[in-house]
């Protein structure tokens, strides 16, 4: 009961925050509000028993997305010009749409209904057969990495292509694709601000350690390559904000980051091809070792590593593509 009331409170806050994002004419505060929106959304996912999704939303939505939005905003005017046309017509249409969707929800089974169609079909099969076929506790990781491995390899390549797309678009008018190392300047980020320096330096090792824990504990608890990649990227972005763009690019050169992104995706694909060479089907990990369940474990650990490397590489490549343009 208390959880239900808390959930309703969080959802109401979400709507209030969303309205504030749309209404605020200062784009900087809109970005900050969207960070709060993501954090509320993560809390909501947690209340709805989706621990893995909550961790992803907190790391990606509230962490990396806010930094990327700020990186883009640094290159854009921060004030929105007032005076939009057709506001009344748009608001009226949206109100009508909301009414229609709410009317339609009367046919939807209420929250948590065990007889709902979404709870039948394959969901019950995954929960019943994961212990005997894969034998790892986290069913979300089992479905992500093994049962629906095709889906996940597609997602990893979409992320890689989006990263390449950002590099292409932002390299317009310049002769090279990857960002150049900037010249050493006096304006080195937060180097002369004491409190961010001390607090940030203290936090970076713990963020990266937690990222690694999430990576290698993803089979047993909430976590996996996607969350770990975002967390490690967030730690390195913090390093870049504190020490300046030049120091960050010396630590992790653009070539290395792009290599990680590409290498991670190819590592995932290579596992699938090796399974084929060993006589199985693409991404069938059971043939990797003589014991099918041990093979599944090996396959899941390797492809999660590929996902983690790829996500870290792409997120940092995108961040540096924006950040190196600011100077």
């Amino acid at each position: 009961m208390i959880v239900a009331v808390f959930g309703i409170f969080l959802l109401t806050l979400l709507v209030v925050t969303a309205i504030a994002i749309v209404r605020s004419s200062d784009l900087f505060s809109a970005v900050m509000l969207s960070g709060i929106f993501s954090l509320l959304m993560a809390a909501n996912f947690f209340v709805l028993d989706a621990a893995d999704v909550a961790l992803t939303e907190a790391a990606v939505g509230a962490g990396v997305a806010t930094v990327l939005l700020l990186g883009a905003l640094a290159l854009l005017p921060t004030d929105e010009r007032q005076g939009n046309r057709h506001v009344g017509l748009a608001a009226l249409t949206m109100a009508a749409n909301i009414t229609v969707i709410i009317y339609a929800t009367h046919d939807v089974p209420p929250l948590g209904d065990p007889a709902a169609p979404a709870q039948q079909h394959v969901a019950a099969w995954y929960l019943a057969h994961t212990p005997e076929l894969i034998d790892i506790p986290n069913v979300v990781t089992a479905v992500l990495a093994s049962f629906r491995g095709y889906d996940t390899i597609g997602e990893v390549f979409v992320i890689l292509i989006a990263g390449i797309g950002v590099l292409f678009v932002l390299s317009g008018g310049r002769d090279q694709l990857l960002p150049k190392r900037p010249e050493p300047t006096l304006n080195t980020a937060l180097k002369h601000h004491l409190i961010p320096q001390v607090v940030g330096r203290l936090m970076i090792p713990f963020i990266i350690l937690f990222g690694l824990y999430t990576q290698f504990h993803g089979e047993y608890g909430p976590g996996g390559g996607f969350q770990a990649g975002a967390l490690v990227a967030a730690g390195l972005v913090l390093y870049s904000l504190i020490e300046g763009e030049q120091a960050a690019l010396e630590l992790t050169p653009p070539n290395l980051l792009f290599g990680l992104a590409l290498g991670g995706a190819l590592l995932y694909g290579a596992v699938g091809v090796i399974a084929m060479l060993l006589g199985g089907t693409f991404l069938d990990y059971s043939v990797l070792l003589s014991d099918p369940i041990a093979g599944q474990h090996l396959g899941i650990i390797v492809i999660e590593l590929g996902v983690g490397l790829s996500v870290t590489g792409v997120m940092l490549t995108i961040y540096h593509a924006f950040a190196s343009r600011v100077s």
């Binding site: 239900a4 109401t12 969303a18 309205i19 994002i21 784009l27 809109a30 929106f37 959304m41 909501n44 709805l48 028993d49 989706a50 893995d52 999704v53 992803t56 990606v60 939505g61 997305a65 990327l68 939005l69 883009a72 290159l75 854009l76 005017p77 010009r81 109100a95 909301i98 709410i102 929800t105 939807v108 209420p110 929250l111 065990p114 709902a116 979404a118 969901a123 929960l127 994961t130 506790p137 986290n138 069913v139 479905v143 992500l144 889906d151 996940t152 979409v158 992320i159 989006a162 797309g165 950002v166 678009v169 932002l170 317009g172 047993y220 608890g221 996607f226 995108i318 924006f322 343009r325």
Partner: protein, 119 residues
């Protein structure tokens, strides 16, 4: 409580339309991207709401615990990957907005269109 069983779906409807409003009624391209991400979050909420099960817990099987109900893992997998894909595609959109600003000097939709019409 019967009415509150659909509250999540109502919030989905409202968030979806708030995001869509920003997408169509706002002239500022950066604001449009924020609206797109609200619209996207609304869809994530819809999926995760459908995965919830009364009396269930997160789908991590505990050894030695029998008869425990779990929420549906499949929508959670779909949304987990969709969140990461969402941020990558948003970054691509932002990169295009940054390039538009460099070429046109503005990110207001109507001003850009006015410049395009001029020969």
């Amino acid at each position: 409580m019967e009415i509150l069983g659909h509250y999540h779906y109502w919030v989905f409807a409202v968030l979806l339309m708030i995001g869509f409003y920003a997408l169509v009624a706002k002239q500022n391209l950066f604001k449009k991207m924020l609206g797109l991400s609200i619209l996207q979050s609304a869809v994530f909420l819809l999926y995760i709401t459908m995965a919830e099960r009364e009396g269930g817990t997160a789908p991590i099987i505990q050894p030695g615990v029998a008869d425990q109900l779990y929420s549906n893992p499949l929508p959670q997998v779909l949304i987990l990957t969709a969140i990461v894909v969402g941020i990558s595609t948003m970054a691509l959109g932002l990169a295009i907005v940054v390039r538009i600003r460099e070429e046109y000097g503005t990110i207001e939709d109507d001003e850009i269109r006015r410049m395009d019409r001029r020969p």
